[in-house]
Symmetry: C2
DNA sequence: CTTTAGCACTCCGGGAAAGCGAGTGCTAAC
DNA sequence: GTTAGCACTCGCTTTCCCGGAGTGCTAAAG
């Protein structure tokens, strides 16, 4: 059965009022909010229906109403007005994203902190995709007879490098051959495969070179493994303590511990750019009475990034959704730019 | 005036009892703790003296005593027994530090998380030293006509690299000359100086090369700036909520916000390997009724790392100090090893 | 001079009781 | 279908009371 327009209108008022005040909303307040055109008694009749239908709840007999998860769901799906960011806010977001940073991780964690400060809820960030990262190109740059720089370009165009200390002197003249071998036999394969091939070529080169080769390969394996790992960043968890629903230290502690520990079981938007999970819609027990708004954005190169905001079920969905979309778009743009152009053009300080 | 041995003994019992229970300790409990050899009445007389002298405080007339900051100070300086870690714990620490990680930042933040889980207090980690980082060597590796890898070795032997997308095609043959110029004119100078020199050489090279040069230099400037920045990591802030003194959400929020925001004003051990700051000894207002135990360790290459633990004034100084020292030593060893040897030797998976 | 037992007193913390007030559901009239 | 009126419910805050832990003081004993 469809709700009448007026019922929806009332539901909307209840949700929005409750989002702001965190207190049960009474019939009188609703009547006032709606312009005083209908009396509180009428509202009460409607409220009773809405409770009956499961969209609202009553903490106790003589209290106002609060939205149920079902009520929030209807609100989010139909009633919520898409909030537009003010120009000033859009600018602040763009400005916040004007980071000149090299490392993907840094950019992401920094962005997470900014988002958290914008929405005033705990925010997590992660990346997804990128199952099989491989090396695409190797170089070795001799430094002196005891050390050598290894440079590796990965499948996603990122370049990693490190100084290797050599246990044995290596004849510089042989380096190019070694680089050839690396590029011919150790590119575009998985880390495990690399280790295996290393064994195969063991007897084809001199011991000194083999040592250098194996150092290089194990560096590559480590880097690929580390780069493939998905890392999760958390920011703004302390925001929770400002909320009335988390003034109870135990509740706050429980959720915060979950948030700072869990690397895996945070919600991801399985499809579409944004997903809203309300209370019990969360599979994860620790999130059962919180809501999560999570958006994804394009990092380029088959990878997607993830921004999620965790809050009480009465969180300001419209505001959070708008800001999250703003950031997601901004980040997509940021990474798109990186993709096409060099990171910076301006040579002056 | 020196305290009698018995007074010190009593003070010690009060501190250690209070550290455990967070409740004012009464004369009777002290008498029992001390073996029942002296009566509670005697203890009461002594307690009155200790209050008089400022080592203890009385929350209200008819309550037990709690240590004052001065009392904790005496305890830490003279009374506290140096706690030895059990073999099992030492092993757990060593095991936790068996990380094969490339990035210094990662190692540090990971270590911070481990420390936090060991001591059950919020823990911060940072690095100090390293004021003027410079580039020591450049390389450019052509990839194709639109891109090129820049490799830079810094003063501390770290190597950074990135793929540059070129706006203009560059003649590969001219790259070596460019690398020479970089190595001759842009090494061992500050980032600001680099930008200035870039202007000087503007008319000595072709526009294409200059563009590449300026991209390289601005990459270098960014990296040096980012690398020189001291970054602070926080872990385990949620541990606070378990403590009775932070069950009040406002207090907890205040401290947690301070901890997660402040990058600069966290205590550092100005000399020696470890420093303990008790309550009001903290210059920073936000830390006035907390204590901080901070240790430093050697990263090598003029840099020092920092582990700090923040807790209530009644924190378990002996336990924290022992574990912190254990970790600091472990980290010094870890970095010492990295310094001398290649990061890994074992080529098998 | 120090230690100890005894005792009246203080004050915190918890629990019960009371009053307040916001809000409801119901009835009857419009 | 809507509204005014009204009795009623129930959580929250305040007040009050009481138990108990712990003190300070006094006076006696070592």
């Amino acid at each position: 059965m469809e709700l009448t327009d007026r019922k929806k209108q009332i539901l909307k008022v209840v949700v929005e009022d409750y989002i702001q005040t965190a207190e049960p909303v009474g019939s009188k307040a609703i009547a006032a909010e709606m312009g005083g055109r209908i009396s509180s008694a009428t509202i009460r009749n409607e409220l009773a229906d809405l409770v009956e239908l499961g969209y609202l709840e009553q903490p106790h007999t003589s209290a106002g109403r609060i939205p149920s998860p079902k009520g929030y769901r209807l609100y989010v799906n139909e009633l919520m007005e898409q909030q537009r960011l003010t120009l000033a806010e859009t600018e602040r977001i763009d400005q916040a994203l004007q980071m000149k940073m090299e490392e993907l991780d840094r950019v992401i964690s920094q962005a997470g902190r900014v988002v958290a400060s914008f929405v005033n809820y705990p925010t997590y960030m992660a990346t997804s995709g990128k199952k099989h990262l491989t090396a695409r190109r190797f170089d070795l740059l001799p430094v002196d007879e005891h050390s050598c720089i290894v440079v590796m370009m990965m499948g996603d165009d990122r370049v990693k490098s490190q100084l290797l200390r050599l246990q044995l002197k290596v004849d510089t003249g042989q380096i190019p051959a070694l680089v050839d071998m690396l590029n011919n036999h150790f590119t575009n394969i998985s880390g495990g495969e690399m280790s295996r091939r290393l064994m195969d070529v063991a007897d084809q080169v001199s011991p000194q070179l083999f040592l250098l080769l194996s150092q290089t390969v194990s560096y590559a394996v480590d880097v690929l493994e580390e780069a493939g790992q998905r890392e999760v960043f958390m920011a703004g968890a302390n925001q929770l303590l400002k909320l009335p629903e988390f003034r109870n230290a135990d509740k706050a502690h429980e959720l915060m511990s979950f948030l700072s520990d869990s690397k895996e079981n945070l919600p991801v938007p399985d499809d579409g750019p944004m997903k809203i999970l309300i209370g019990p819609e969360n599979v994860n027990a620790a999130l059962r009475d919180t809501s999560v708004v999570v958006a994804s954005y394009d990092i380029g190169d088959d990878m997607r990034g993830l921004i999620g905001v965790v809050g009480p079920t009465r969180m300001d969905y419209a505001a959070v959704a708008a800001r999250l979309t703003g950031f997601a778009d901004g980040l997509t743009r940021l990474f798109g730019k990186h993709e096409k152009l060099p990171p910076k053009e301006d040579p002056q300080t």
